[in-house]
């Protein structure tokens, strides 16, 4: 074995350490993104589907800067043609670190748009709420007008002429839906990534502080709160005066909608992230453990479970009496509530995180592969697909 002296000097050894650490640094970036991609579900109104596509990542050393900014896209659901696209501009950035500099902050959108009358609302990871004209794509107002909030990850709900959303600063905000004026704010003890639910005049929203809050939607006053064993990232379902919510503690809870008292608790193997769907006295909820659980809405007893083999992140939808569920791996299953049998409807072979939406027997699915699919809920036939990036 011939080993030269130079190769054994401290300097060379140091060089080796540097190279290995550089490799280590680069290796550390694999599979771990440094900037948000987003990608929302769709919202349908008057034959138009509104969607915010995921940002395309450029990748790179130590950073992965998006090459496109966020946008709201309007699509004609009849043929999948693009009607218009509204760019959602961020604010000027001071630049990134090593090898990363950005002139604008990309606007990743996770929460599905909300359509009320003439306006479409979207909340961005850049901490801004945008109200955009549904016909023209022209920006009506933005909140806050100056500066920005912490990232907005969850979606919004619109009711009582107001717009409600949670923010990563732990606040629940209510805005005037018409003008974007601030109405009230409720502070929680942790980040909020969940989408709220409204029932009557009560707003329900979960926080990373482990609590589910019931808030008076008019005044912003707390009605009750319920503490779970983990952070809450899922959206509550209100069904038959009961609030159903899953938590990071692997439990799915049923609470009395009036006072927040616990009715029952069901424990799975991993987190709950999606919103549940209820039909005919049964609650169906997807879990990160790859199962969809069918639970008795009254007692919490497990009726059956559907082993789909891949985590369920996206919200399921109810089409007539059939529940459509998408797994992370892009398999679309249909659960017939009549006999609780599940069958594969379609396989997109692309990652699906975004909530599903449905209209007139057609399911619309946006994949992280940046494609929008229209699939017949009955036959599983692919009606059209549209690349959106």
């Amino acid at each position: 074995m011939r080993i030269g002296n130079k190769a054994l000097t401290v300097g060379k050894l140091s060089l080796l350490v540097v190279l290995l650490l550089v490799m280590l640094a680069a290796f550390g970036c694999i599979g771990i993104r440094s900037s948000p991609e987003g990608g929302s579900g769709g919202a349908i109104a008057d034959g138009t589907l509104f969607l915010c596509p995921a940002l395309k990542q450029a990748g790179g050393f130590g950073c992965s800067a998006p090459v496109v900014e966020g946008a709201l896209v309007a699509v004609d659901v009849s043929d999948g043609s693009r009607l218009w696209e509204a760019a959602l501009e961020g604010e000027m950035s001071s630049g990134g670190g090593f090898g990363c500099s950005a002139s604008t902050v990309p606007v990743a959108i996770y929460g599905s748009p909300v359509v009320v009358g003439e306006l479409v609302y979207v909340g961005g990871y850049n901490g801004k709420i945008y109200a955009i004209n549904a016909s023209s794509g022209v920006l009506r107002w933005v909140y806050p007008r100056q500066g920005s909030l912490q990232p907005i990850v969850g979606g919004m709900v619109a009711a009582l002429d107001s717009l409600y959303f949670g923010c990563a600063d732990g606040g629940v905000y209510a805005l005037d839906a018409e003008t974007g004026d601030w109405l009230w704010e409720f502070a929680t003890g942790g980040k909020i990534w969940a989408t709220p639910t409204i029932n009557g005049e009560t707003l329900y929203i979960g926080s990373f502080d482990h609590n589910l809050y019931a808030i008076d939607a008019v005044t912003g006053q707390l009605e009750w709160e319920f503490e779970t064993g983990g952070a809450i990232g899922s959206t509550p379902l209100v069904y038959n005066d009961t609030v159903y919510i899953g938590s990071f503690d692997r439990s799915f809870y049923a609470l009395d909608a009036a006072d927040g008292s616990l009715q029952w608790e069901f424990e799975a193997e991993k987190w709950f992230w999606t919103r549940a769907v209820a039909y005919n006295g049964t609650v169906y909820v997807g879990c990160f453990d790859g199962n969809v659980y069918a639970l008795d809405a009254e007692s919490g007893e497990e009726i059956t479970r559907f082993e789909l083999g891949s985590p369920v992140y996206s919200w399921p939808v109810l089409v007539d009496s059939r529940i459509i569920v998408a797994t992370e791996e892009g398999e679309i299953y249909v659960i017939d509530t009549a006999d609780n049998q599940a069958e594969l409807l379609a396989d997109l072979e692309e990652t699906v995180y975004a909530p599903l939406c449905a209209s007139e027997g057609i399911i619309y699915i946006y994949s992280q592969g940046q494609n929008l699919y229209a699939i017949n809920a009955e036959s599983g036939a692919r009606l059209w697909s549209l690349p959106i990036n």
């Binding site: 011939r2 401290v10 300097g11 080796l16 280590l24 771990i32 503690d249 692997r250 985590p311």
Partner: protein
């Protein structure tokens, strides 16, 4: 998950989360503690590597001497260098092997910190498959990213400077003094290149990683101080060597001891054939001239077992 994830990333990720839960949901303290624990577990390897590096540094003057002597015969130079290593009891791989063993563990720690930070939704979702079914793991997530004034998920200039500073100190401590201008330039380049590179990396990555780097650097500075004092950092007498250091130094001293001393054994067949040192070198088939006296002479070691000890007088 692949094999690497299962054996390295997953355990470290869960330990990091449990530590955070145990340390009052303080992720910064958990990073520091786990880094210390991992470095502590690797301490024997670190010490071995540091000692081997130091021993090689101590041998450097002789190496330079050999380089000058065999400047035109690379093959011979390599042979003589290997012979010197062998006689000095130094394994050249002793520097490299512990480092290579430690690397996967550092990489696992590095990746686990990145993964557990889970600042954006995609990363939090991606963390789920790595979690064990331990209750504290599920109740602790997502972790609080704030530590002191820091947001552990974003870069921090002060920490970048600290990373650069501690890297420089560590480098300076192990840097061997040299008179060779080429080596001096190389050493100087490395002394400044590494801290600057690390500082830039720190700015680009979440400051949770900077905490890991700073803690690791301080730990290694401590280990190096334990082995050889402040080294090249200050021009003072080194700290009193440990038993193992003494052993290395004795070996090196032995090869450097002049041949005229008593109780000398010359390697090879020179003494057995009744030849002088110069004759021995001259009669070598390759006519390389043999070792300089100071290198060639090896003092016979008294054996520790005692059974073969030769009585004097």
């Amino acid at each position: 998950m692949n094999f690497w994830d299962i054996i390295a990333i997953q355990p470290m990720t869960n330990i990091l989360i449990v530590l955070t839960d145990f340390l009052f949901n303080n992720f910064g303290l958990a990073i520091i503690l786990l880094t210390l624990v991992v470095n502590g577990a690797l301490l024997p390897l670190t010490l071995k590597q540091t000692r081997a590096s130091k021993a090689m540094q101590d041998l450097q003057p002789k190496m330079t001497e050999l380089q000058k002597k065999y400047a035109k015969d690379k093959q011979k130079l390599a042979q003589e260098q290997m012979r010197l290593y062998k006689e000095s009891g130094i394994n050249p791989a002793g520097c490299l092997l512990p480092l290579l063993i430690q690397m996967p563990i550092w990489i696992a720690l590095f990746q686990s910190i990145m993964r557990v930070l889970a600042v954006i939704p995609e990363n939090l979702v991606g963390l789920s498959p790595y979690l064990y079914s331990w209750p504290s793991v599920y109740s602790a997530l997502p972790l609080n990213n704030h530590f002191l004034w820091l947001n552990l998920a974003s870069g921090d200039m002060f920490l970048a400077l600290l990373v650069g500073g501690t890297t420089w100190v560590q480098q300076k401590m192990v840097m061997a003094p040299t008179v060779d201008p080429a080596q001096k330039t190389q050493s100087s380049l490395m002394l400044w290149m590494m801290p600057i590179l690390f500082a830039f990396l720190t700015l680009s990555f979440p400051s949770g990683l900077a905490l890991y780097w700073i803690t690791s650097n301080l730990f290694r500075i401590g280990a190096q101080y334990f082995i050889g004092g402040w080294g090249g950092l200050v021009k003072t007498a080194p700290k009193k060597p440990t038993g193992r250091d003494k052993k290395y130094k004795e070996r090196i001293a032995e090869v450097e001891k002049p041949a005229q001393e008593t109780d000398i054994v010359v390697p090879g067949s020179a003494q057995e054939e009744g030849l002088s040192d110069e004759e021995s070198g001259g009669k070598r088939p390759d006519r390389g001239g043999g070792y300089p006296k100071s290198i060639r002479a090896v003092k016979r070691q008294p054996r520790r077992g005692g059974s073969h000890r030769r009585k004097r007088g």
